[in-house]
C-alpha cells in the first residue's frame, strides 16, 4: 500500500531523516523513538506537508513525493497532527462536517469519539483532551485508506486513552494506520508491526 | 547633485530610525510622519524645542503601547499620528504656512542653510551608529539579542523595555528635529509628513531585505532610491 524509499530530510545542516526505507501492506504500523528522532517529520513527508530532500514515496503504486497535501488527502491519506490543528473559531460539529461532508456520518463519528456533549461549542472553548479527540475525528471523517496519527495518546488522560484505543481497534480492521509514540506500552497492544527510529534512522523492526 | 547627496543622507538616517523602531521596539511606527510635520510647525517658534517635543511623544508612544503585540502597537501609533495631525489642524487654523529659510552659498552651490544643517546632523547620527554597529560594544550585542527575540533577551538579563523606550524616544526626537529643519523653505500643511514617512519606510523596507547587513547598507540603498526617484 505505502512504500517509502530512501527518504532523507535536512533542515539546513541538521539531518533529521537518513535513508529511511520501509513499506506497509495492511494493518497498523507503530513507530516509536525519543523526542526529536524524526517521527513527526517522516509523517509530514508522507502527507506532503514537508518535501523530502531526496527519496520517493509511493501510495498504491502512485508516486506522491512532490504532491501538495490537499491532493494527497484526496487519494486517501489523512493526517492527525501531534499539536492539534483544528478550526478554532468553528464549532466541533462544523469542524467534523467540513471533513465528512455529510451530517449523518459526522454524528456517527462524534458519538464514537465521545464528542457529543461539546458538539456545538467552539473548538477554542473545549479542553485540550477533547481537541485531541476532535483532531482524530476530523482525520477519520475523511474516510481515508491510510491514517497517519502523530502521538494520538500524548496529553490524554486515562479515560480518553480508553476511548481512543477502542476506536482505533474498531477501525483498524478496515483502515491502515501509522501511529507514532514515544512510549511503546500502549502501541504494542494494537500495532501489528513495529519500527524503532533513532536519530533519523530506522534501527529495529518487529 | 549635491542636494541629492544631502537628501539621501537625511532619508538614510530617517530610515535608520524606522528600522530601529521596527526591530527593537517591534512597532511599524506610523506616527513618524506626523512627528515630522509637528517639527515643521514647531520650528516657527524655535528650533530647539523640536527634539524635546519629539522625545515627549516618543515616551507617550512607549508608555501607551507597552504591553501590546506588534500589530496593536502599530494601530496605536497610527492613532497617535492622526491625533497629532488633528491637534495641528485645530491649533493652526491657517492650513498652509510658509516657513522661512536662510540661503547661503557652498562652493558656488546655492543651499538652504537648514537643509545643510539637517544633513550634517544626519551624517553625524549615521556615522555614530555605524561605529556602534561595527565596533560591537556590549550594548550593541544586547540590542541584537532584543532584535531577535524579546523573551530571550529577558532571559539574558537585558531590560528590553528600557531599550524600547530609549529607541522610541531617540527616533521620535530625531524625526521631529529633522522635520523642523528640512521643512523650512516649504509650504506646510498637516498632512505633509506622510510623504516623508512613506519614503523612509520604503527605503527601510528595501534595506530590511539585507537582514543583518541592513544598517550598513542603509546609506547606499537610500542613495540608490533617491537617485532613481
Amino acid at each position: 500500500m505505502l512504500e517509502v524509499i530512501e527518504v532523507s530530510k535536512m533542515f539546513g545542516r541538521n539531518v533529521v531523516l537518513k535513508n529511511v526505507t520501509f513499506s506497509l501492506k495492511n494493518g497498523i504500523l507503530g513507530i516509536y523513538g525519543a523526542n526529536g528522532s524524526g517521527k513527526t517529520t517522516l509523517l509530514k513527508i508522507i502527507s506532503g506537508f514537508e518535501k523530502p530532500s531526496c527519496g520517493r514515496v509511493f501510495f498504491n503504486g502512485r508516486e506522491i513525493t512532490n504532491k501538495a497535501p490537499q491532493e494527497i488527502v484526496k487519494l486517501g491519506v489523512a493526517m492527525a497532527f501531534q499539536i492539534p490543528r483544528v478550526f478554532w473559531n468553528l464549532t466541533v460539529h462544523e469542524n467534523v462536517l467540513l471533513a465528512a461532508r455529510e451530517t449523518d456520518y459526522t454524528a456517527e463519528i462524534c458519538k464514537e469519539l465521545n464528542l457529543e456533549d461539546v458538539l456545538f461549542k467552539k473548538a477554542k472553548e473545549i479542553s485540550q483532551g477533547k481537541v485531541k479527540l476532535l483532531q482524530l475525528a476530523m482525520c477519520f471523517a475523511l474516510k481515508p485508506k491510510l491514517a497517519l496519527l502523530d502521538e494520538p495518546f500524548a496529553s490524554l488522560d486515562a479515560e480518553n486513552v480508553e476511548v481512543v484505543l477502542e476506536f482505533l481497534k474498531k477501525r483498524g480492521s478496515e483502515i491502515s494506520m501509522i501511529i507514532t509514540a514515544h512510549r511503546t506500552k500502549i502501541l504494542k497492544t494494537i500495532a501489528s508491526q513495529m519500527l524503532e527510529i533513532r536519530g533519523g534512522k530506522i534501527v529495529g523492526s518487529s | 547633485m549635491i542636494s541629492l547627496f544631502f537628501s539621501a543622507l537625511i532619508y538614510a538616517s530617517l530610515a535608520l530610525c524606522v528600522l530601529l523602531s521596527y526591530r527593537v521596539a517591534k512597532v511599524v511606527n506610523l506616527s513618524f510622519g506626523s512627528i515630522f510635520t509637528l517639527g515643521g510647525y514647531l520650528s516657527v517658534f524655535s528650533l530647539f524645542i523640536t527634539p524635546i517635543f519629539g522625545a515627549w511623544i516618543g515616551l507617550l508612544l512607549h508608555i501607551g503601547s507597552k504591553r501590546m503585540d506588534a500589530s496593536k502597537a502599530t494601530i496605536f501609533s497610527l492613532g497617535i499620528a492622526i491625533a497629532i495631525e488633528e491637534a495641528l489642524r485645530i491649533l493652526f487654523r491657517v492650513e498652509n504656512i510658509l516657513l522661512d529659510s536662510r540661503i547661503f552659498y557652498f562652493f558656488g552651490y546655492k543651499l538652504v542653510f537648514e537643509h545643510f544643517l539637517a544633513s550634517m546632523i544626519s551624517a553625524t547620527f549615521l556615522i555614530l551608529f555605524l561605529a556602534f554597529e561595527l565596533k560591537k560594544p556590549f550594548s550593541r550585542l544586547k540590542l541584537k539579542v532584543i532584535e531577535e527575540d524579546i523573551e530571550n533577551a529577558e532571559l539574558y538579563g537585558i531590560d528590553a523595555e528600557k531599550a524600547r523606550a530609549i529607541v522610541l524616544v531617540i527616533s521620535s526626537a530625531f524625526f521631529c528635529s529633522i522635520g523642523g529643519l528640512y521643512l523650512s523653505g516649504r509650504v506646510i500643511s498637516p498632512t505633509i509628513g506622510w510623504l516623508y514617512m512613506i519614503f523612509s519606510l520604503f527605503i527601510a523596507t528595501i534595506a530590511n531585505v539585507f537582514r543583518e547587513k541592513a544598517y550598513i547598507l542603509l546609506l547606499p540603498t537610500s542613495f540608490g532610491v533617491c537617485w532613481l526617484v
Binding site: G36, K124 | E151, L155
Partner: protein, 220 residues
C-alpha cells in the same frame, strides 16, 4: 523554614481556559524534577517561575522574598536563570558573543568543544551544538536557581552523561529544576524532590519515594 523557591497557589487562565490550576510547590537546593505528559503545563510553569509569564493569581517567593511582580531580567539579577527549550538562542550572534552574557572562561571549562567553534554564528551550528551553548550560558552564570527545560534535546550520549555529572555537582551548590522526557530514570534517581503535573493540576509533589509509583504508572 524558608525554602529557596516557592510557588504558592499559582493559577493561569488564558483565553478563558485554565492552564494551571492552583499549583503549590516549594523547591530547595539540589535537583528537582517536574514531569508530566505533553501539554500538561510544565513549560508554562517554568516560564512563570522565570518571569516570562505573569500568573493570574498566586505568589512566587525566592528566599522568602515576593518576586511575583518582578520581570524576567530583574529575576536574572536576583538569581534565577532559565535555559529555554527548542534551541532558542540569538542566532545572529557568534558563540563567543553569546557567552559574553555569562562567565566566559567557566563556560569553556564546562564545554571545551565550544572553544573550537567560538567564532561561528549560532545560525550555522547543529542542534546539539546550539543546545550546548544554551546550557553553557545557563551553567556559567552565578545564580541561586537554575531552570532547565528539556536540557537533553538533540545531544550525543557522551555529552548527555557529562551534563548529568555536571547536574550532580552543581546540585550541591544551588537549586536546579529540570523538566525532561529523556533520561527520566537517571534524573529521577538523582533528584530530591519530584512533582507530577497533568492537565495543569498537581498530581503529586514531594519526596522521591512516594512519587516513584505514580511516575512509573505514567511514563516509564
Amino acid at each position: 523554614m524558608v525554602k529557596l523557591l516557592e510557588a504558592v497557589e499559582i493559577s493561569l487562565t488564558m483565553n478563558s481556559k485554565k492552564i494551571l490550576d492552583s499549583v503549590n510547590l516549594c523547591f530547595d537546593r539540589g535537583i528537582n524534577l517536574i514531569a508530566g505528559p505533553n501539554g500538561s503545563g510544565k513549560t508554562t510553569l517554568l516560564k512563570i517561575l522565570a518571569g516570562l509569564l505573569r500568573p493570574s493569581s498566586g505568589k512566587i517567593l525566592l528566599d522568602g522574598l515576593d518576586i511575583t511582580m518582578k520581570k524576567a531580567h530583574e529575576r536574572v539579577k536576583l538569581g534565577i536563570i532559565m535555559a529555554p527549550e527548542r534551541m532558542k538562542l540569538p542566532l545572529s550572534l557568534t558563540v563567543d558573543e553569546n557567552l559574553r552574557f555569562c562567565d566566559r572562561n567557566r563556560a569553556y571549562e564546562y564545554f571545551p568543544e565550544l572553544k573550537k567553534i567560538s567564532e561561528k554564528k549560532a545560525r550555522d551550528l547543529s542542534g546539539g551544538e546550539r543546545q550546548m551553548v544554551i546550557l553553557a550560558r545557563a551553567f556559567a552564570k552565578n545564580s541561586k536557581y537554575l531552570l532547565l527545560d528539556e536540557p537533553f534535546q538533540g545531544l550525543h550520549e557522551k555529552i548527555k552523561e557529562r551534563i548529568i555529572k555536571l547536574l550532580e555537582e552543581e546540585g550541591r551548590k544551588r537549586g536546579i529544576l529540570v523538566v525532561t522526557h529523556d533520561e527520566l530514570e537517571k534524573i529521577f534517581s538523582m533528584s530530591d524532590y519530584i512533582c507530577v503535573l497533568t492537565n495543569g493540576k498537581l498530581l503529586y509533589a514531594g519526596e522521591k519515594e512516594g512519587g516513584e509509583k505514580i511516575l512509573k504508572k505514567f511514563f516509564i
